[in-house]
């Protein structure tokens, strides 16, 4: 693959990294095109990050501005941390896609447009008065317009498809061209099409023909200047076996791995909601790993059934997004009161209310840490990337089962949908944490709310002889677990619940500095999916000689024990978040540090440049 291009020598341009954005109508198959391009890119050994950006409507009216679906990929021969600020190449399948995306294209970047779609009707829908391909409005970019629609129809003619079906192959034609541009292997896509359309071989053949035609077009047509075959050598990476993974899949695999390490069957109660449903879909196919999935009648039943399953001795897991998490609030309190293990996954999206279902945001941190009635402490951890979601899911299971507590695991729409190369973990490297249910009373008599050294109460499965007991949401008496409204008892039990959760900090180690060092002029502290842009911005600023470090939190609650001291070792602290300042509040409250917010809630991830600007300003 890459070797052929390398042999071709000086014909290609040496590049460090490239950002490509595929944009088209919701029905044009852009997510599919992007996904397949990602696969071929990963197989070529490049590092990469992706950003799918699609409308909430399943089939928005054709050709409209709000119906544009885009997929951005940043790939290169160096470590890639974000999906890229500005595309180098924009593939626009219609005028609306061009209009919505062209302004983010780098000056001098390349536009590839399907001129066949730039008729009056589509231009009107995109609110273009003149055809931008024909006036000089795109002058600051390089433009390559040809009739992809007609070329596709020509390529698939032998297969006798109807016009509509034939045009559906356009995305494969475009993918073929993109594969040629970056010297990618077509074979994995051919294999994929063959298996996807195994029952409709003529559709498979037509798509493959379109793919080949697009590729051949790049290779043979007299394309002037802008399209040159660009080979990116593979990125340096740790040796091992790699695959691509998105956050929803990595998280699902992590939950399975965690339940195996705890030696427990898993029960997953879920209710469909964007962008969390993908976890339910993944887990429902993993029954052979002792996973039972239950699509409940609502969000409350989803968590309540998971609590019931935990009570019965299995690992209860539920998952949702902000609005659904809100509905689960009361039941979380029940899990806290009854001290049962439970993992609650929140794939955050823009809020409040229905908000922006398909856009990413990190605005549920308050909800995770504080969002329940009563003093209701719960460990909260957050994943920073798709592959990190695997590790965090295992960690959530460990904390839940070892401390007999519900645990909130935060991810977001960006992590859930984005893909990255993943060094496949060696499962023998992990330390298991098998659960032992109590089968015999403690010395001195059975105490359902007796405690171990971690303050965890025993986990007794119903069905165990002689250990019958009753639990519930009413305050529990110390040790006995009987109903107890006593004032001293409530104080004691509240203290215990707090101390138990704070004690989780004893098992998580110190907070490390992701880039830079402890102490200095400035630290950026982030959490979740902002890892990429913060890391890259800090990296660039450090290369320019600035004194700035990057800290990234996995443990939102309780926080690592050294965090306060670490933050106080810097003159300034900035907290970039895709919300209006939630971690900032928490840090100020916990450590009385003058943490400054850097906020963005546009539904788009931070760009590296935005964070670089904030660093430069803080240090000037």
């Amino acid at each position: 693959m890459a070797s052929a291009a390398q042999e071709a020598g000086n014909e290609e341009e040496a590049l460090d990294s490239v950002v490509v954005r595929f944009a088209g109508d919701s029905g044009d198959g852009m997510q599919l095109t992007g996904g397949q391009f990602t696969l071929s890119t990963a197989l070529a050994g490049n590092d990469l990050a992706t950003f799918p950006d699609f409308p909430a409507e399943i089939r928005a009216p054709q050709g409209t501005l709000f119906g544009v679906s885009a997929f951005q990929i940043n790939f290169g021969s160096r470590a890639i941390h974000t999906a890229g600020d500005q595309p180098d190449v924009l593939v626009a399948m219609n005028p609306a896609a061009l209009k919505v995306n062209v302004d983010s294209l780098k000056a001098g970047g390349l536009i590839i447009a399907d001129s066949g779609e730039f008729g009056k009707r589509n231009l009107d829908k995109a609110k273009y008065e003149n055809n931008p391909l024909e006036d000089d409005s795109l002058a600051k970019w390089q433009l390559l317009a040809f009739d992809i629609s007609a070329l596709t129809l020509e390529a698939v003619k032998p297969f006798g498809l109807g016009n509509k079906e034939a045009l559906r192959c356009k995305n494969m034609w475009t993918l073929g061209l993109a594969l040629w541009m970056f010297d990618r292997d077509r074979q994995p896509i051919v294999d994929w099409l063959t298996s996807k359309f195994a029952k409709k071989p003529e559709i498979a053949q037509a798509n493959i023909a379109a793919l080949n035609a697009g590729h051949a077009y790049g290779e043979t047509a007299e394309l002037s200047g802008p399209v040159k075959q660009a080979a990116l050598p593979a990125a340096p990476a740790n040796p091992g076996l790699y695959r691509t993974v998105n956050g929803a899949e990595a998280l699902s695999l992590g939950l399975v791995a965690g339940s195996q390490m705890a030696n427990l069957p898993m029960f997953f109660g879920g209710y469909p909601i964007t962008p969390a449903s993908a976890i339910l879909h993944h887990l429902s196919r993993l029954k052979e790993y002792g996973v039972t999935t239950f699509q409940a009648e609502d969000e409350i039943a989803a968590i309540a059934s998971a609590i019931g399953a935990s009570y019965a001795g299995t690992l209860g897991v539920t998952s949702s997004s902000g609005p659904g998490i809100a509905l689960k609030g009361e039941a979380m309190g029940l899990a806290i009161m009854t001290e049962l293990p439970l993992v609650i996954v929140n794939s955050q999206r823009g809020g409040p209310s229905t908000g922006l279902p398909t856009k990413t945001e990190q605005s549920d941190l308050y909800q995770a840490v504080y969002g329940r009635n009563g003093d209701a402490p719960m460990p909260v951890i957050s994943a920073r990337s798709p592959s990190d979601a695997f590790e965090c899911a295992i960690e959530a299971v460990r904390i839940a089962t070892q401390y007999m507590t519900p645990v909130m695991l935060l991810t977001d729409g960006y992590i859930a949908n984005a893909a990255e190369p993943w060094l496949v973990p060696d499962m023998s490297d992990y330390t298991e944490f098998p659960v032992e249910h109590m089968t015999q009373a403690q010395a001195g008599g059975f105490m359902p709310y007796g405690r171990d050294e971690k303050l965890a109460r025993p986990w007794v499965k119903p069905g165990t002889p002689e250990l019958m007991h009753r639990i519930g949401g009413i305050e529990k008496g110390l040790d006995t677990g009987h109903i107890d409204y006593g004032s001293d008892n409530h104080q004691q039990m509240t203290d215990i619940r707090r101390d138990k959760v704070l004690g989780v900090a004893n098992s998580i180690g110190d907070q490390e500095v992701a880039l830079g060092q402890a102490g200095g002029k400035l630290a950026l502290i982030g959490w979740g999916s902002t890892y990429g842009p913060i890391h890259q911005a800090v990296n660039r600023c450090r290369e320019k000689g600035m004194d700035v470090s990057h800290i990234h939190l996995r443990y939102i609650w309780p926080m690592p024990k050294n965090l306060g001291e670490l933050l106080k070792s810097y003159d300034h602290v900035i907290v970039p978040e895709m919300n209006m300042g939630q971690l900032k509040t928490l840090l100020r409250d916990q450590y009385l540090v003058d943490a400054k917010p850097l906020n963005k809630v546009s539904g788009q991830p931070f760009t590296i440049a935005e964070i670089e600007t904030a660093i430069a300003e803080a240090l000037s």
């Binding site: 040796p239 019931g308 009753r470 639990i471």
Partner: protein, 343 residues
């Protein structure tokens, strides 16, 4: 219930050491005793039995049973019970709920646990009032009920628990009365039914809705006001002097007089617990014009939810070998060596 070995117990084995905290004279005491009397008769094992409740006076019930018990949150007992039963289908699961818990805040879960046919017993203590919150009208309160929240009388129409259950797909529907000696028989029938068994129990809230069921619950008028149903037996009441027949013109039930015990001549119907159409008519009967149908109204089992879930889990898993390392290594992979990617 499940095919588990029967255990010898006495009523005492099912009592906890906890002080029972219902109002003196509350119908809940009678129901508690009826359940504690029923458990030895069905040969249940305390360790294998789980009582799951929501919120309300009735939902304190689990604390008084020497079994496993989970007093959950308002309306959610069916959902919690579903998780319990799916995690361990061997457990004998009883859901304890009330009219507000099951039909107002938890109406959705009641519908779905019945529709799915989870193998469990659902005891709905219907007292037509919110007791624990001090007397507001409930979804089963009759029109015009005076309560703290409806000082001029309620104006909305009540829900009928048994009609709701049947409409939700229940395969077992029965009725009982808190103080009636037949209650253990009804509970035993419910327990013998494989699937979700729905039992509405008329329960007297002596503080906020005293004697609201007296019209049919009173012992001295019971013969005329109670229609006790038995499978295969004619639907007779008033000591056999009256019966229930089908008015074919109206496609509805009617009360007929039985002369000299010849109920067949009077056209009295034999109760068939598997007849869903009759069940629908019986649960819709308006008390007054008709006696109150009690006992097992409908009992026609079909496959249960947890059995189907477990069967599918096992069938799918049987063809696959779990291998975590293989699972995480799935998809298209590539290897990077010390010298770079090996492609």
């Amino acid at each position: 219930m499940n095919e588990i070995s029967k255990i010898e117990t006495t009523l005492k084995d099912w009592e906890t050491d906890q002080e029972v905290r219902w109002c003196p004279g509350c119908g809940d005491y009678a129901i508690l005793k009826a359940v504690q009397r029923t458990m030895p008769m069905i040969g249940g094992s305390p360790a294998n039995t789980v009582f799951v409740s929501g919120i309300g006076c009735s939902s304190r019930f689990p604390y008084y049973m020497e079994t496993y018990g989970f007093h959950t949150i308002h309306g959610r007992a069916p959902a919690v019970a579903t998780g319990v039963k799916l995690a361990n289908p061997e457990l004998d699961v009883w859901i304890i709920t009330g009219d507000g818990d099951a039909l107002s805040i938890g109406g959705n879960h009641t519908m779905h646990v019945l529709r799915r046919n989870l193998n469990c017993q659902i005891m709905l203590f219907n007292n037509e009032i919110y007791g624990l919150t001090k007397g507001q009208y409930s979804p089963t309160s009759r029109e015009g009920t005076n309560s703290p929240s409806t000082p001029y009388g309620s104006v909305d129409h009540p829900a009928s628990p048994c009609a709701f259950a049947l409409g939700s797909g229940a395969r077992f529907v029965a009725r009982g009365i808190d103080i009636n000696k037949n209650l253990p028989d009804v509970l035993m029938a419910a327990h013998a039914h494989k699937g979700a068994a729905f039992i509405e129990i008329f329960q007297n809230c002596i503080v906020y809705n005293k004697d609201v069921f007296e019209d049919f619950a009173a012992k001295k008028t019971a013969a005329a006001t109670q229609l006790w149903l038995a499978n295969g037996e004619p639907m007779l009441f008033e000591k056999g002097a009256k019966g229930i027949a089908l008015d074919q013109d109206k496609m509805a039930l009617k009360v007929v007089d039985v002369v000299d015990g010849d109920w067949q001549a009077a056209g009295v119907l034999r109760h068939d617990v598997t007849n869903r159409s009759t069940a629908h008519m019986l649960v819709e009967l308006q008390f007054g014009a008709f006696p109150m149908p009690l006992g097992v109204i409908y009992d026609d089992p079909k496959p249960t939810f947890e059995t189907a879930v477990v069967a599918q889990n096992e069938a799918i898993a049987a063809n696959k070998k779990p291998d975590l390392q293989a699972l995480v290594s799935k998809g298209q992979t590539w290897t990077v060596t010390e010298d770079g990617p090996d492609l």
